[in-house]
């Protein structure tokens, strides 16, 4: 039994969403299992019961729906405070229960080269759990205490600070991060300068996804112009449509594989 099943026992919404995922995949599915284990560790660290987890998740969803409505009415993302635990829990659970975030996880699982790795912006550790590197440098300006403690036990180097060029890497990941960054040029230049000749930069960008902590909502042309101006060359683009938002927004992510030109 996965820990997410315990949450589902307390929450019919999660129960239905999870059973729909189990119909498509299986109870032994690697992504569900890894993220359910992460949710269990997170709940243990903060002494949260399945009931607490369920409440916080539903509260986040309720606020998110309001934020979507605000965006439709005002054409700008709502800005407001975020409850860190609610947010972390939603990040973990939605990667289990929604197809669009699952597709990002699936793409991460398919990347086999784990040499000289750096991961920027890890939140509660969703991507870290999926990538499961033996060795990596991690940077996050708002690194949660849970992530720092849990993943440092796994031998990773975790830094609660901004990423700046210090070393050279073969693989740099910034997944579900760029839309949270105000000074994209600065970050992207440091990433560019930190990649070796064969190095890959894996990143995503969310279009029309009105999360209150998303600072930018650039269109595809604009973000790709920025990548190009900095000196990146796109090797692969994976389009990931969202199913779980009001349809008129046409929200989607692109997962990019890039190298320095």
């Amino acid at each position: 039994m996965n820990f997410i099943d315990e949450v589902a026992e307390k929450n019919r919404f999660v129960d239905i969403a999870l059973s729909l995922m189990y119909e498509k995949y299986s109870e032994d599915d690697l992504i569900i299992r890894k993220l359910s284990d992460l949710l269990f560790e997170y709940s243990r660290f903060y002494s949260l019961s399945p009931d607490n987890i369920s409440e916080k998740y539903m509260f986040f969803l309720k606020e998110y729906k309001n934020d979507v409505k605000y965006f439709i009415e005002n054409d700008v993302y709502y800005k407001g405070p975020i409850d860190r635990q609610q947010y972390d829990i939603a990040l973990i659970i939605s990667a289990i229960l929604t197809e669009h975030r699952r597709k990002i996880m699936k793409e991460l699982l398919s990347i086999n080269n784990k040499e000289k790795m750096c991961i920027i912006g890890v939140g509660p550790g969703v991507e870290l759990s999926i990538i499961s590197p033996d060795k990596a440098d991690i940077y996050d300006t708002a690194l949660p205490d849970f992530t720092r403690q849990y993943f440092s036990k796994k031998g990773l180097s975790l830094n609660k600070k901004e990423f700046v060029k210090e070393k050279i890497y073969s693989n740099i990941f910034a997944i579900e991060l760029l839309e949270h960054i105000s000074d994209l040029d600065r970050l992207l230049k440091d990433i560019r300068d930190s990649l070796n000749e064969e190095g890959f930069f894996y990143t995503t960008y969310a279009f029309n996804v009105p999360q209150r902590d998303h600072l930018t909502n650039l269109n595809e042309k604009k973000i790709e112009e920025i990548f190009s101006d900095i000196g990146f060359e796109i090797h692969k683009r994976i389009y990931i449509e969202h199913e779980t938002l009001v349809k008129e927004l046409k929200p989607y992510n692109i997962f990019y594989h890039m190298k320095v030109r």
């Binding site: 019919r12 919404f13 239905i16 969403a17 059973s19 729909l20 189990y22 119909e23 969803l61 729906k65 929604t98 197809e99 199913e243 779980t244 938002l245 009001v246 349809k247 008129e248």
Partner: protein, 80 residues
């Protein structure tokens, strides 16, 4: 229960779930006709129907429901 009464009760549930007091549905209405009816609100709708009629759908039943007509048939089957 009469189909028209079921349709009316379902319409009230959907108006609440989709937060649209003017919403009008027919048996042929489906997610593509209702802007707010996406995969997230679909689960909210299922939970609300279960509460209203006091039964539970199986996951295979949820997958098989394609429009309001399917929902009404399934509710009829479950409460009969």
């Amino acid at each position: 229960m009469d189909k028209s009464i079921l349709l009316e009760r379902l319409q009230n549930i959907m108006r609440n779930v989709f937060n649209d007091k003017e919403l009008k549905i027919s048996e042929s209405s489906s997610a593509k006709d209702v802007e707010e009816w996406d995969s997230l609100t679909n689960i909210e709708l299922i939970v609300a129907i279960e509460k209203e009629f006091d039964f539970r759908f199986t996951s295979l039943e949820v997958i098989s429901l394609k429009n309001v007509g399917d929902l009404i048939s399934k509710i009829e089957e479950k409460i009969s």
